[in-house]
Symmetry: C2
Subunit: 480 residues, 2 copies
Amino acid sequence: MKLAERVSAALARATEKTGRDLFHEPLVLGVSGGADSLVLLHLLRAVRPAEGLIVAHLDHALRPSSADEAAVVNRIAAGYGLRFHTRRVDVAELAKSLNLSLEEAARMARYDFLAEIARAEGAPAVAVGHHADDQVETILMHVLRGSGLGGLRGMVEAGELPGHPKLRLLRPLLAITRAEIEAYAGEQGLRPITDESNADPAFLRNRVRHELLPALETYNPQIRERLRALSEVVAADEAFLVSQTTTNLTRLIVERGEETLAWSRDGWLALPLALRRRVLRLALAVVASDAPEPGYQALEAARRIAESGETGARVDLPGGLALRVAYDRLRLTRQPGAVSAELPQLPSAGPIPLSVPGAILLKNGWRLSAEFVVGAPDIETNTDRWTAYVAIPPAEALLVRGRRPGDRIRPLGLGGERKVKEVMIDRKVPVEARALWPVVATAERVVWLAGLALDDRARVTLESSRVIRLRCWREEHEAG
Amino acid sequence: MKLAERVSAALARATEKTGRDLFHEPLVLGVSGGADSLVLLHLLRAVRPAEGLIVAHLDHALRPSSADEAAVVNRIAAGYGLRFHTRRVDVAELAKSLNLSLEEAARMARYDFLAEIARAEGAPAVAVGHHADDQVETILMHVLRGSGLGGLRGMVEAGELPGHPKLRLLRPLLAITRAEIEAYAGEQGLRPITDESNADPAFLRNRVRHELLPALETYNPQIRERLRALSEVVAADEAFLVSQTTTNLTRLIVERGEETLAWSRDGWLALPLALRRRVLRLALAVVASDAPEPGYQALEAARRIAESGETGARVDLPGGLALRVAYDRLRLTRQPGAVSAELPQLPSAGPIPLSVPGAILLKNGWRLSAEFVVGAPDIETNTDRWTAYVAIPPAEALLVRGRRPGDRIRPLGLGGERKVKEVMIDRKVPVEARALWPVVATAERVVWLAGLALDDRARVTLESSRVIRLRCWREEHEAG
């Protein structure tokens, strides 16, 4: 039971780190049916009571056999006497509609689904089967993409569930190799489903697994162990550097506004180079968390101006940010910035009532209208992102406003809730266009992010008696 | 003159960092005759007065054409009116005798030669043509070998010359790519020597250059820029972490002896994980700088014992080191340790006179003898490392003693001086056997490290009138 002991130790570490009793509280397991997740399920049953374990399986609808796979996992869960949830999400469609890679869309759909089940079951955490070889692949992918030190850290054993900060994501197998997992599956007579997509070289991860890692092993047969050791060292180094950065920026701040942050220049200049870089990067993130991360060269240029520029010197950064050198401080400001007339923008962020039928005027000749649909609407074949059909109870009035902190939406087709901010980032809305982007909402919730996403709860069904067509468009001749 | 400006800026940075005026003081350039070093030479002539520039070329004796190459570089230097030095070292032989790879031996021979010329010319620094693509290759080689964060940093633009801490090593082309260098060579009509060994896949660097990097570029065409950016970030992060580590260990030390270091356990436990690891590693280096670096697993095991072990707990580390947990402190001690009877060991480190002829008794049946050689000695064909022929002026008495701090030797065939400690490390003498390893010396200098290296100045030449044979051997029947 060597692996069981290691999984038990991982659960103990996660319990200590999260402050939640992961041996007894409900725990949702993402089970694809592959060797990794079946072994994780088998091991968790060995180290904690089975009653709180909940099996969740997302059918990605990528292969004809995927519905059968869901049935297989269902049988396994039933055989163990465990609760089981499944959902089918067309990941290919999701990827297309959100302009994401298949891998990104699949991960998002999986995590959103697991989060929904965890909330429904009252579980503080979800667990997935990522193992040591996945970790090595992840680190290499980060290196290939050109990440900084944070990327070399790889995945963490117990952290936040991406997009769902109140839930924890556990990876109890992270220190266990693929070979150990497969040996265990064999010993225990588990019968994993083979995922043919694991051989598809269209996925970066598969190329790293089947081509790059074997090539690297011809240079150093121990390369996997070495990269894992490197990632553990880096994880701790990075955590220390992050805490030093936060402490120092907090100490040096002299002025903080809605879209402004200023800190002591002398204090900053006295920091070592590593912290000057990191404090600057953190300041950028504080002022504009949704701005694109500046590249290395842009950040270095800003640092040099900040170090040697005279009072009044200024450097522009992505996302409409500007860094200015003052006598005793460095000030980072977000510029209102000019938004292209090609994008819809509200005249102001405050709510404007939208009557049905009715329309409101936006900037640059854009309009947003609402009308009742008479007869059978052409919903199924609507391919215009700027037109949406919604069903809203008569008691709920519509309004149009800018996004608000914490705004969430349940995008159609996706299981879970997402932050409006994240959807805007995913859909590549320029940072300077986000604040005044038209959001159609009721007093209760977001209905439509014009051109971006429709809320699942406003979807028109066969039962809907009152269908509204929302449209957002630009009258070209009015533009100016 | 874009490249010249960048080299000038690099020289200015190095001047600031080293405190030496590298625009006017003598500067020794290692010039192989390849594009890199010819371009460096050309650029340095453009950014500083030529009179202090000294060209040095080491003939590695690896190819029949190498003597011609030295002549080519000589002509180039003469054409520029620069001083020129060359030396032929049989690097293949050196690699064999020191048990090093060809690359390691070549680097050592080169740096020792450059150091010797720099000392002779009164130059504070030497410059070499390493460029941005060399840097990327170096970083990848470090990753492949499994280095920690320090290895990701790669080479530094201005640092210490390895093995010669009083001299600086400059790499003014480190931020300039191979393509830029080759373009410049073409524009300026320079005619570099082609080094065929650059295509030999027996060298790790060539495999990295010709196979691995092109493969990585199929994943990310920007991989070189990204790795260079990573190395610059890591260099600063690492420098900060090193300074934090030194500060904290210094603050926490409560006891320091010849072979012992103890530091406050509570203070250490209060450090973040990154610094607990790094302080422990630094303490090991302080107590035994010549001990082999412990691997990641060994260090982690020691850390865990140090964190959670009870008073009296102990963990052994490589190099005869032991870490012990006491109530309020952690104590690292170097054990005298048992040395194998297969290795020669003095009865004590103090000097013992060695008369000629004469012999002294070592431990475990080993003996060390000296005798005059009558007739023509068989020096040329001597292949026994335990026998050495030396020429010592009659006025100088021989003695046998343990190594002393700062002991240096000029190993036969190598241009420069090396620390006796380093030679012992290179020749894999176990750390616990080094203190009592027999060193034959005069009052002035080291003559022979028994079985390891002979000093160049004691070499027998045609002019030597008084030849002494030194032998070190074990009388098997006396062992006990």
